[in-house]
Amino acid sequence: MVETLLRGEPLGLPVPAAWLYALKVFGFVLHMIFMNLWLAGMPTALLLGSSKHRVSQRLFKAMPFFVAFGINAGIVPLLFLQTLYPQFFYPATVLQAWFWFLIIPLLIVAYYAVYLAAFNRFRIAAAALASILFIWIGLTFSSAMNLTAAPEQWPAIFSATAEAGSVHGRYLYLNAEALLRFLIMAGMSFGTLAAFLALDGEVFTANAAYKNEARRLVAPLYLLGFVVFAGAALVYAPAVKESLPQWLWFFAAACMPVGALLSIIYWRRPAKQIACSLVLVQFIALLANALARQSVQSLSLEKWARVDAMPVRGDWDSLILFFVVLLIVLFSLAWLARVVLRADHGSAR
């Protein structure tokens, strides 16, 4: 039945699927770093509350950058998801059309609330609003990605929401699985925030008072994240165990406990090397998670459509154009970073 609802893109793939998978995972990791920082950072800054708390101040001020680059990086995985799996992604989002559409206005409101908090205007209310909206947007994403990978659910949802053959779009596939996947991400977010604070305190900030405050927060934040991650992963893992290669299973499961251990060591003996190790472990955790999610998605969809069987157009000139542009952008960013670092060290006016 479901097979009849699946029509792949007749134009085929522009380049072999491996390129598209690699770029999708790359973009998702990039997105996760910033998204984790806002997902955990905003409520943390809010709860630390007091305007005298330096970590809270710094998080509020940094939040507009996290959101800007996080939204921007989020484009990449969605772009390649639509290239690899259009026949799965579009029906899943159309069935939940209003909720998917609402992400845009809600994101605008959340983004402006982030700026209000950064400029210290109605800070508590703005931060609370942004936190709630970010959580809601995350849940909507989790629902959309879940339904994308579950076409067997479509006929029943379509039947329940269609009138005259068209859907009303007021449906949200928010089930236990979507919630668990979101909680896994939320748990990792606190880990990423803790790793950021360790790095920021040890490497990027000279202010001793800030460093002390940040150091005290690293272990509690990471352990909180670990508990949420482990709790959700324990319930969710059996459902996807078969979809993951063993090495990936190992990395996806082992990094957060190692990170938790490192955060405790850092709490007892804070040092730059331990902070850097924590950042490295957390980065591997994010990468492993992105690969694991891709693996689960690919294997769920493989039984409906084989991406590697799709025709490939071999549109290499566009891929080369992209890499040339990316290279120019990276050089420009490096120049900007040099200018900023010099200004920060007071060599500029």
């Binding site: 893109e9 007749p10 639509q82 845009i104 005259a164 053959g165 009303h168 992209f322």
Partner: protein
């Protein structure tokens, strides 16, 4: 037709696109033109060592960042979001042709964000020369982003020599690409000058040489107007015949084109006058009025661009109901329902198994139900039943014969409509539903 249809009563789902796209285009063009103006004004202010203007520009940059980085960026994503919901076939085709164009635009946008942040947050902490270079870097990134997106939107109007076997570059450098780049670049410079004019009009003088800012800014704006005129004429020249025909035949498009010309002339006159007399004309009401005139020019321009493209979503490749031009004959022979799996699934479940394929044998109520569903798949990308482009008021004076005949010859009745894409049974079913609507029954 390969995907389920999302029906939004009264508005139609595709109308959600301009609700996001129009404000986005205004803000995005403001962002591009504003980049050039800010970089140049900052350069001149540093050169003249005018601290008052520099202080003013810092405040302007803050407003600029808040508008463009937040609203502009999210609504840009929002357009892509919405077209995926309302025209998945078209979005999928565009993504499969231009995926690395979009990816390149993403990369350029990273630079745009980074440069904008450095330009604002490091104000006063960078060497003037470096600060100005960062400003130009932002402007260049924003403009390249405009160029990359224009390649895709222009392709939708003029596919040129592209065929599915040809490469990205053939699609990107299509006949209306260069004229649209000129038009949009010109529009960006003009709308940015008008936007900054609004901002400037609300500033207290306090030693701020508004005349100087207006003079510096007007040169860019007038250059923009020249680009608009050249690009506009070129654009009209390369328009496909069906688009030109739409422009002439549809009163609304003609009216929009007229408004577009009128407000462009108004803005040109005001900018020229402003350049001559300086800041005297920059009072808040005049500046706001002119900004709205500029926004109206962009809005009507976008409306005309979208409207003239009909009946195609992508010129000669995909028709507005989401059917590829190469599939039309086949769809007409085998039937629309057979090509729309979600619709077929719905009808077989709601009526009876196989009902979708024998609409003619159904009792009248069943036939109307099939017709209503066909309306949603074939017509609702442009028509609501009631509301936007509502079919009920259009049909009210029509006779059953006229309805039947029009459905049979849709594209002859109105070249902006696609050919009828169904078989005889389906045409009868749609006509039955439209007749019921014409009698005022839902």
């Amino acid at each position: 037709m390969d995907f389920p249809v999302w029906y939004v009563p009264y508005l139609t789902a595709p109308l959600l696109i301009p609700l996001i796209a129009v404000p986005h285009v205004i803000v995005a063009q403001f962002a591009v033109g504003g980049g050039f103006l800010l970089a140049d004004l900052t350069r001149r202010a540093y050169g003249a060592n005018d601290l008052a203007i520099l202080a003013y520009l810092r405040g302007l940059t803050r407003t600029f960042v808040l508008i463009t980085i937040v609203f502009g960026a999210v609504t840009g994503v929002g357009i892509w979001w919405t077209i995926g919901l309302t025209s998945p076939e078209t979005t999928s085709a565009l993504i499969h042709i231009f995926v690395f164009g979009w990816a390149a635009e993403w990369a350029v946008f990273v630079l745009e964000l980074a440069a904008a942040f450095v330009f604002y947050y490091f104000w006063g902490r960078l060497e003037p020369r470096e600060h100005v270079i960062v400003g130009w870097m932002y402007a260049a990134a924003a403009w390249v982003s405009l160029v990359l997106i224009t390649g895709i939107t222009a392709f939708m109007l003029t596919t040129g020599g592209w065929t599915p076997e040809k490469s990205f570059l053939t699609a990107f450098f299509n006949p209306s690409f260069a004229p649209q780049v000129l038009l949009r670049t010109g529009g960006s410079l003009a709308i940015a000058a008008l936007g900054i004019g609004v901002h400037l009009s609300f500033q207290k003088d306090h030693g701020l040489d508004k005349d100087l800012i207006i003079r510096w800014m007007s040169r860019w704006a007038l250059a923009g107007v020249i680009l608009i005129l050249v690009g506009g004429a070129w654009y009209l020249a390369v328009m496909p015949d069906h688009a030109r025909l739409n422009l002439i035949r549809a009163p609304i498009l003609l009216a929009m084109t007229g408004i577009n010309f009128f407000v462009t002339l108004l803005v040109t006159a005001a900018l020229t006058w402003g350049h001559m007399v300086g800041s005297r004309w920059i009072t808040p009401p005049a500046a706001v009025l002119l900004f709205f005139a500029g926004a109206a020019a962009i809005t009507t321009g976008e409306f005309v661009r979208e409207g003239t493209r009909k009946p195609y979503r992508i010129d000669r490749y995909i028709f507005s109901p989401g059917i590829r031009a190469s599939d039309v004959t086949d769809v007409q022979r085998s039937g629309l329902i057979r090509r729309a799996p979600w619709l077929q699934h719905y009808l077989d479940r709601e009526l009876s198994p196989g009902a979708s394929l024998r609409a003619a044998d159904l009792p009248p109520a069943g036939r109307v139900e099939v017709g209503k569903s066909i309306f949603r798949y074939h017509c609702s990308s442009c028509h609501a039943e009631w509301g936007y482009n509502g079919i009920v008021p259009i049909l009210r004076p029509w006779t059953p014969e006229l309805i039947r005949d029009t459905v049979r010859n849709l594209h002859r009745a109105n070249p902006a409509m696609p050919p009828w894409m169904g078989n005889e049974n389906e045409r009868e079913a749609l006509a039955a539903y439209l007749m019921q609507l014409s009698q005022g029954r839902p």
